[in-house]
């Protein structure tokens, strides 16, 4: 295959590592993209595999709470849009697994690690989507948070990941607008609808505030990730960007946010908020959230229930190959 070659001298202390590293860092600092065949530090490769794998898993697991609501969508138009969004999210996972594969980890390994609970996925998908208003809130505010993250990552240094993200961001624009549209319907509807949306926002605010990951003081890899332009903004910077764009829009819909400390600090040009409980965050992403077990079970079931389709395709492919060979003789 084009992309893969055996990583060489890519650990500190290996012969030639220092020279390769300084050439690599100079390239990245120039804004050049790194491509699969290029020399890269082993740690760069590992960090990217970890991030892209978690990202891909999150797309898959994000489709689960939304997918469950497809039969209950309130109108045909909403149902069509939700089906399209769910298909997009699963498509995003496939694009991302492919990007991670160029770094040397197979899709099968990644899917197995997800199903067996070894690999992580975004904190927000460890919670239940209890009402239709949760679906609206997820599609608006969680996709909004994801867009802040993905727009930034799309400018990152690794070519295949950046290319996948450009395509993904294009589709996210539809998710966001459709989510906003659903929230506007509920916010401007009957009192019951408005209350239902307020409830959902109250439920989701804590997970949303954790979505961009531990604050810069707690987060471990930030320095290296920024130097190698895997990430261009810290978790806190992303959280601020999200708050600046969306808190005013939430208020505009006549909704409140369940944090008594949330206020805009004009002087610091930043939102102040109650620091999320990062121990709780870690506990949730380790698989101890309210919906964690359900998500994995659903994912595993889909995988096992689909096994016969894969076997059939495999057999058909073998048949095709046999026919081709016969014709050759």
């Amino acid at each position: 295959m084009v992309q893969n070659r055996v990583p060489q001298n890519d650990r500190p202390g290996d012969p030639g590592y220092a020279e390769c590293l300084s050439a690599f860092e100079a390239r990245v600092a120039r804004g050049d993209k790194v491509e699969p065949g290029d020399w890269m530090p082993g740690a760069y490769r590992q960090q990217l595999i970890r991030l892209i794998h978690v990202h891909a898993n999150s797309e898959i697991c994000g489709a689960l709470p939304e997918g469950g609501w497809i039969p209950h969508a309130p109108s045909l138009k909403r149902k069509l849009a939700l089906v399209a969004k769910v298909q997009d999210e699963v498509g995003h996972a496939q694009l991302l697994y492919r990007a991670a594969e160029t770094l040397g980890k197979s899709r099968e390994e990644m899917i197995d690690e997800l199903i067996t609970g070894k690999a992580k996925y975004s904190n927000v998908f460890h919670y239940h989507a209890e009402t239709w208003a949760d679906v609206a809130t997820i599609a608006w505010l969680i996709d909004a948070g994801a867009i802040v993250n993905q727009r930034m990552m799309a400018e990152g240094s690794y070519g295949p990941y950046a290319r996948a993200l450009k395509r993904i961001c294009y589709e996210e624009a539809f998710h966001l607008t459709h989510g906003y549209d659903m929230c506007i319907t509920l916010a401007t509807g009957s009192k019951l609808q408005h209350d239902m949306l307020q409830d959902a926002v109250n439920r989701w605010w804590k997970p949303i505030m954790m979505f961009h990951g531990p604050s810069d003081g707690v987060s471990t890899h930030t320095d290296q990730l920024m130097r190698w332009r895997i990430k261009l903004k810290t978790n806190d910077e992303q959280r601020q960007e999200f708050l600046k764009q969306y808190v005013p829009k939430v208020h505009e819909l006549g909704l409140t946010l369940p944090d008594p400390n949330l206020r805009f600090d004009e002087e610091a040009d930043a939102w102040r908020y109650t620091e999320p409980d990062w121990d709780e965050f870690m506990n949730v992403i380790r698989g101890n959230g309210p919906a964690s077990a359900l998500r994995l079970r659903a994912r595993r079931m889909a995988h096992e229930d689909g096994a016969w389709v894969r076997r059939a395709l495999e057999a058909a492919a073998r048949g095709n190959r046999a026919t081709v060979n016969q014709n050759d003789e």
């Binding site: 295959m1 020399w39 498509g91 492919r98 899709r107």
Partner: protein
């Protein structure tokens, strides 16, 4: 569970007749026929497209990025370009010097 790691096919799409096929990404598929189906699902959901190509990824041979020498233009290659020739200036310079017989007839 070793039944999902199918071969990779690189996908090229053509947005309209007459346009070139452009690489858009890749899919896993059991064979080329399924790869076309996956390509359509993955890359043909929205954007205009009239044609897909799928190519087994291992059928592609590529140059190496670190082999920069092969793209190095060590010498002046302007003789390969239209801008490397100063026809207009040369013709203008000559018109005044030319023998009378070569000038356009005067009216």
């Amino acid at each position: 569970m070793s039944d999902t790691q199918w071969p990779v096919f690189e996908v090229f799409h053509q947005q309209a007749r007459g346009e070139p096929h452009v690489h858009v990404g890749s899919v896993h598929a059991s064979d080329a026929e399924v790869a076309l189906l996956m390509a359509k699902e993955q890359f043909g959901r929205r954007q205009a497209c009239v044609n897909f190509w799928v190519v087994p990824a291992d059928a592609i041979t590529a140059t190496a990025y670190d082999d920069v020498d092969i793209f190095e233009h060590g010498t002046d290659k302007s003789y390969r370009e239209a801008y490397g020739y100063e026809t207009t200036r040369r013709v203008r310079a000559q018109t005044t010097k030319r023998p009378r017989s070569l000038r356009p007839p005067e009216e």
